[in-house]
């Protein structure tokens, strides 16, 4: 399965200034494992060392948030869009 990982501006420097990256895997976990091989500095900004999404990272697979349940088990269809966003977690300065 091949999917497109769409990146916010703050992360593009870790992908050679690209706005999107092609990754492979039938689940979100497998796709991010592939990303870890391809661009490890980018992957570690999305997941911690236990493979969990960082607390303030939002991901959507074909428009559906994967925050709840078991995000890494989310099915990723061929041609899917995986959208990454920083959570709107303002309030601090």
């Amino acid at each position: 399965m091949t999917s497109r990982l769409l990146l916010p501006a703050a992360l593009r420097r870790y992908a050679g200034d690209r706005a999107e990256v092609e990754i492979h895997g039938g689940t979100l976990g497998a796709a991010l494992d592939d990303l870890a091989e391809l661009l490890p500095q980018l992957e570690r900004r999305l997941r911690d060392e236990q493979g969990q999404l960082r607390p303030h990272v939002l991901m959507f697979v074909d428009g559906v948030s994967v925050r709840s349940g078991a995000p890494m088990e989310t099915r990723v269809a061929d041609g899917a869009e995986i959208f990454v966003a920083p959570a709107v977690s303002g309030g601090d300065d």
């Binding site: 900004r45 060392e49 236990q50 960082r54 303030h56 990272v57 920083p86």
Partner: protein, 365 residues
Amino acid sequence: MGLAILLIGTRKGLMLARSTDDRRTWATSDFQFLNQEVYSVAIDTRHDPPRIFAGVGTGHWGPLLTYSDDLGRSWTEPEEPPIGFPQGSDAAVARVWQVQPAPDGQPDVVYAGVEPHALFRSDDRGESFALVEGLWQHPHRPSWMPGGGGACLHTVLPHPTDPDDVMVVMSAAGVYHTRDGGVSWEPANRGIQAKFLPEDQRFPEFGQCVHKVAFHPDRPQRLFAQNHFGVYRSEDRGGSWVPIESGLPSNFGFALVAHPHRPDVLYNFPLQADAERFPPEAKLRVYRTEDAGANWEPLSKGLPTDAYYGAVLRDAMVADSRDPAGVYFGTRIGEVYASRDEGDTWSLIAEHLPDVLSLRVAEVA
């Protein structure tokens, strides 16, 4: 003196200040790591070129431990994450609170203290770190509480000559000590009061919120501690502690700095109380003892005389290694002051910064 460099870690980035005239004037650089907290900085002068470390919190994107071998002009992030809990440990590094190069006899060893309470050790100059399992597996760990800033291991104190002897300080777990290179750890809090506990439980074996411990390398048996209410001295490397706060306007605070050459000299920055984290009487003053805590004197010559409400955090006061010693502190309202005469007089060297979290200084050329 050639080039002195002062690292200024702030809530929203890192600034470097350089002095080439024996610390008379300082030139500051552009801000780096914009909008990212820099809780820990270190300068490792054991190799040439010196290596600068920065423990950076990237907000949404997790913590980062990075280094520079060209005095901050460029930064290296290893391909493999340099620091992280082993798979299956059910923990992830939330913040790097301290980066501490070991003494000269261990030129490749670097320690890192992190949140949650854990110690990491590098044997390759900070390229990669391994969890110190002896502390992580300590039977007390499930009972360690977070301090107000988090469950942090914020201070690492390697013995200057014995590589197996290391002390760590954690909020709110207290002081722990290993004499076997990290295999086993003993609490070292006897005599330190946990004022926030019920009255009959205020001297526990562990659980104190010790904010900082400092010692002079020529006298490693003597330690000084700034506690969450209480300033203490130990003459037996943490075996027992006695109060030395008489003469201070408050026994609350964070920053505590040992003099680089004179084992009886210590600097302290008192704050009014935990619920009033301001300089006592809103007067910006550093306190110095020259007799290991028997007497204290306020130092304020050159500091602002109007009301001042900026606190100084635990790693935001340091001394250099010169003689006479330089002393530096940064405040939570973004000012950095320096003294090149052991604290007798002060001058402002940086201002209008975000709140200052960490300072380190070294002579690098």
